[in-house]
Symmetry: C2
Subunit: 275 residues, 2 copies
């Protein structure tokens, strides 16, 4: 049974219901010790104000989410995208997040070349490492589900994230975020989580609904789908991960329609029974 002191609720889980102050109040009121902030919301409310309200309420941060999208084949576009990531690293440092969730970027219809897009992503990350080190924020490579490979992330598996980490040789600052929703189907997942070991800086949970209706915004509550979440938690813990379990649910048709206290209540129940 998960100790609730390890619970983090990602801000996106209450994206539609709460402003940042309302969200922080809901966490505080329900005794949730940690969150991962959603970048758009942070910029909307203000980085400094967000840092202050989180600190004042004693809420820890498990991450800052997200930046990346650096795979453009156009040099100027790619340089601008890297600058945007540097700004996000600064913001992550300001709010005292240990890592920035990094989403690689998709395939450009102009070149359709996935191998080249992947190569540009790795080269681009290499260029971001000095800045990440200077602000003390880890770059958390997050493999995303292959169904959003075209639009969001050519980083599709934990194996590929491990390969990139091997190549980058920056274990102090480049890490891996394991999102159960993105990786549960992967036949290699157990081996690759073991290989990732101490690279794992973040562990996200939600569930895959059998009747999934949308490629991004139809995640399920833990226990409502087909993912064996306890098995995946055992894998990351066997690899040495003992950090927060971060609940990240994009849910247009269900959880985004509900009262924040109800959602948090269900989460607190499910992380104990289904994760």
């Amino acid at each position: 049974m998960l100790d609730l002191r390890r619970l983090s609720i990602h801000q996106v889980t209450l994206l539609r219901q709460c402003t940042t102050p309302q969200f922080v109040a809901a966490l505080t009121r329900n005794g949730v010790p940690c969150t991962s902030l959603w970048r758009d919301k942070t910029l909307e409310y203000g980085v400094e104000k967000t840092a202050r309200i989180v600190a004042d309420n004693g809420i820890a941060l498990s991450g800052y989410c997200f930046a990346g999208l650096i795979t453009s084949p156009d040099r100027d576009e790619a340089a601008k995208a890297r600058d945007e990531v540097r700004r996000a690293l600064d913001e992550a440092a300001a709010v005292k997040a240990p890592c920035l969730v990094f989403v690689a970027g998709g395939i450009d219809p102009r070149d359709k070349n996935i191998a080249d897009a992947r190569a540009r992503a790795v080269d681009g990350i290499a260029e971001l490492i000095p800045h990440a080190r200077s602000v003390g924020v880890r770059i958390a490579l997050e493999p995303l589900h292959p169904m959003i490979c075209a639009t969001r992330s050519v980083l599709s598996t934990v194996k590929l994230a491990n390969d990139w980490c091997d190549r980058l040789g920056a274990e102090d600052i480049v890490a891996i975020a394991v999102d159960t929703y993105a990786v549960w189907w992967d036949p290699e997942i157990e081996d690759e989580i073991a290989r990732a070991g101490k690279r794992i800086c973040s562990f996200h949970v939600s569930d895959w609904l059998a009747d999934t209706q949308d490629l991004r915004l139809d995640r399920g509550m833990m226990g409502d789908g087909v993912i064996d979440l306890p098995a995946l938690r055992r894998m990351v813990e066997a690899a040495g991960y003992d950090g927060y379990v971060e609940v990240e649910i994009f849910s247009q048709r269900n959880w985004w329609q509900r009262d924040p206290d109800e959602v948090i209540g269900v989460i607190k129940d499910r992380v104990r029974t289904a994760v």
Copy 2:
């Protein structure tokens, strides 16, 4: 440029517009030499009648699609599912299809155990081999996209299909169908297609649309998406495949709404310019 004598148009591409006789007439009228039959349509029109109309019009078959779904944790359900596959193998033999496209089946919410589901799939295929041999129809293991892992197929990669083939040791009768739509994102695809070699009995093309709106029924026409189809064709051909290039487009919002002759005309153009 693809020789049009290698073109096969999967019946599902005109699923909503045509009965089987209308579909065969459209192929004949447009000089398309080959098809893969959709099982539901074949059963609806009748197996014998379908075999006759296809043969009478000189249409070759590249496959019979599909059967499988044998991953149930319930023994009786699984046995019934295997019987259904045996019937499909008989039908494939009757229509003179060289292979039956095999879709493994998904995860049962009753056990949520993907490793067990995969093990049951391999064991189930082993039980089907004698029947496949007796009717002379290859079982074409088709890895499907991880986004339909829960509902349709725990066989998610060509690597896993190769692993299953290694384990089954039945190279004469268990083969692999490579569907570009299902595998284009896979970082291991080049190596695993090379490893598959002569196991590849079927090659399906369509495209991944950047604005994909549905998990199953929103495939794009070759050239309209982000897949590097010529690269994938080079891979299967380097592995020794010289058979039909099968166009398989499930498209609720676009191609299923159009006139059959228009669709076939676009396909004949695109297989020459975009595959």
